[in-house]
């Protein structure tokens, strides 16, 4: 099934799922309350947004310089930096390292970029055991489904469903307590860290000035992934770069404020190399894989380049009424919500994925919330325009030309109004049925009639 049809079919199912609607609404209401509290503590939230936007603008618009600085500084202290133009190349690089190390088990901390390149599937195919250590990712991995939300992978599940899942897959005793469920996962995963040959992470930011990656998390699983295994591999998109270490003094709290509502996430850690001389632990080998995967195409689009400023906070997903009503899985993309709708056409193809840009009421809540001021909903309009230019629908083009022709000529406008009034008489015969030309509307809503006297008629009468 084509993506557009798949989206519509699943959206139809999800929008009728009142349990889902209620669950997501409750979860996000809690989030909104803490987010607003955290925002209120800022002396000037809007100024902070502007500064964050400028920091990312500087990074992305000098991307080559900062990437070179980042890479050089990492290599100077023993990190092996790899560059991958495509997801396939990235997978080959990572598999190459794993094979060379004769590794058997890999522990992963959350990395949306690894979802993007479908890394887990590739590793599983080769017979490597991959364990997701982030609780939410661990849960969806057991359920064999993709993450529901880029920050909260298991947001769509109740504790009852998670309890059943654990009982079935881990043999644990059923429980309604989120605390007990978390402890079950903690116990199971503990040994995985200790025994894993390879620790795999993503990264939230790449600091050019000091040659470090920055990883933000609440659980501590990324820290353990980066501490115990002998080899550490980190995968990140090239756009993650920030110029200076101090930029994080602003970006880290903003990421958490909008991402989860927390003033600051529990662990914000910077990794600048493998274990250095004198250090008691840490990986002997540290590999950083830089991924392009069509980001350079988005970079070339000056109008939409700011979409690469995204710090993956998930804030736009949280406020999007479309996301709330259809749910994260309906998008069938790695990145869902408004940012996903904006960038997926660039990463996967415009014609196949333009429907996500049309599946929006353009309410602008996303743009308003974005901590780095990406012009999200305007980019949805840009995608729509680009799609129409590239491959116009003859039907729509003719329809809009006809509309323009009529609306620009008052006499024709009046004639079509008379025709409308006539058709209106017959409308009740077909209203709400398949023969109704306004079926898309009238299936669920009533349509108001044309007024007895329109405003223009009233105005003409007046003068």
């Amino acid at each position: 099934m084509k993506p557009a049809q798949q989206f519509k079919t699943q959206a139809t199912v999800m929008t009728h799922d009142l349990h889902h609607r209620e669950l997501i609404h409750t979860a996000l209401s809690k989030y909104e309350a803490v987010r607003d509290q955290s925002k209120a503590a800022y002396q000037d939230w809007q100024a902070a947004r502007q500064a964050a936007a400028e920091a990312k603008w500087e990074a992305v618009n000098h991307l080559d310089e900062y990437l070179v600085e980042f890479s050089n500084k990492l290599e100077a202290r023993g990190t092996k930096v790899h560059w991958a133009s495509t997801g396939l190349q990235a997978k080959e690089i990572i598999l190459g390292i794993i094979r060379e190390k004769k590794a058997r088990s890999i522990v992963k901390s959350k990395a949306m970029t690894s979802e993007e390149i479908h890394l887990n599937e590739a590793l599983a195919e080769e017979g490597f055991e991959v364990v997701e250590s982030d609780l939410g990712e661990f849960i969806v991995q057991l359920r064999k489904e993709p993450p529901y939300h880029i920050v909260f992978p298991a947001m769509h599940l109740t504790r009852g469903e998670i309890s059943e899942l654990f009982a079935r897959e881990l043999g644990s005793a059923p429980t309604q307590s989120p605390e007990e469920l978390t402890m079950i996962a903690r116990r199971v995963l503990r040994q995985k860290y200790i025994r894993a040959d390879i620790g795999f992470t993503g990264a939230n930011f790449a600091v050019a000035e000091t040659g470090m990656i920055s990883i933000t998390e609440n659980e501590g699983n990324a820290r353990l992934t980066a501490a115990l295994p002998k080899v550490m591999i980190s995968l990140l998109g090239i756009e993650k770069v920030v110029p200076r270490l101090e930029d994080l003094a602003l970006l880290l709290p903003m990421l958490s404020t909008i991402g989860t509502g927390q003033p600051l996430t529990c662990y914000n850690s910077f990794y600048g190399g493998p274990r250095q001389p004198g250090e008691p632990d840490g990986p002997d080998e540290f590999h950083v894989v830089l991924l392009d995967n069509r980001r350079t195409e988005l970079l070339a689009d000056g109008e939409q380049r700011d979409a690469l400023h995204c710090i993956r906070c998930g804030g736009c997903l949280n406020v999007c009424p479309i996301f709330r009503n259809v749910g994260g899985h309906t998008y069938h993309t790695t990145y869902s919500g408004p940012i996903g709708s904006v960038i997926t056409p660039h990463l996967r193809g415009l014609q196949e994925w333009k429907h996500l840009s049309f599946a929006s009421s353009l309410c602008g809540a996303c743009t308003e919330t974005c901590p780095v001021k990406i012009n999200l909903h305007h980019h949805l309009l840009h995608n729509r325009r680009n799609a129409a230019r590239q491959k116009p629908s003859m039907f729509e083009k003719v329809a809009f030309k006809l509309f323009a022709f009529v609306i620009n000529r008052p006499s024709l406008y009046r004639s079509s109004k008379r025709a409308g009034r006539l058709l209106q008489i017959f409308h009740p015969l077909v209203k709400g049925t398949r023969f109704d030309p306004a079926y898309a509307w009238t299936k669920t809503r009533d349509l108001p009639p044309i007024a007895r006297q329109t405003f223009k008629e009233y105005w003409r009468q007046r003068s």
Binding site: I407, A440, T444, T454
Partner: protein, 237 residues
Amino acid sequence: MTITLFVPCFVDLMFPNVAISMVRILERLGHKVECPGEIACCGQPAYNSGYWDEARTVAVKVLEHLEGSEAIVIGSGSCGAMLHVFYAELFAATAYERQAKALAKKCYEFSDFLVTKLGVTDLGARFPAKVTFHDGCHGLRELGAFKQPRQLLSNVKELELVEMGEQVCCGFGGTFAAKFPMISTAMGEVKCSLAQKTGAEYIVSNDSSCLMHIQGLLTRQGSRMKTIHLAEVLANG
């Protein structure tokens, strides 16, 4: 002042009373109101669908007819956003770029015009009912209209305003309502449910397109709740 009222097609055809109310209010305040009959559409449908050339065909006519206006009040938030924000994009790098930017400075959403430009918050209106307010997204986020409708409503005699407590899109979104009716309907249901929880008799809004969608759902649901435009409330009594 001579105020140009731009009445978009759906307000003209289906909600004329909204525009009539606006005329009455502005005239009562002592201004002259002009309603150019030659223009009926801001070009948003074509623009939103990605057909910018066809949108420009319509929008150019609007630019030309509104060129000489002193101040333009637009009868709907989404059309207002089109003129105030999106024309600059639509006409960027064309011969009309400067004109579009100049026009934007003269365009106002109705409540914003009354409160910010005219400095009026009390129209001597009376509307004895419990109401709740729905902020049209374009008016809210593109035109900065939030306090103004509430300031105006606070001076309406015997009116009780109860807030819904959550800010969320009603789901109309122009062509979105027809292209993705299931999502549009779900969003509308969420809005109606929020409104119903307030116990209000009326949902008031500054955007007729939202009201068309919300009312359509309420009627289909058999709800007793009614919808009314802000201008109609302010013109009452």
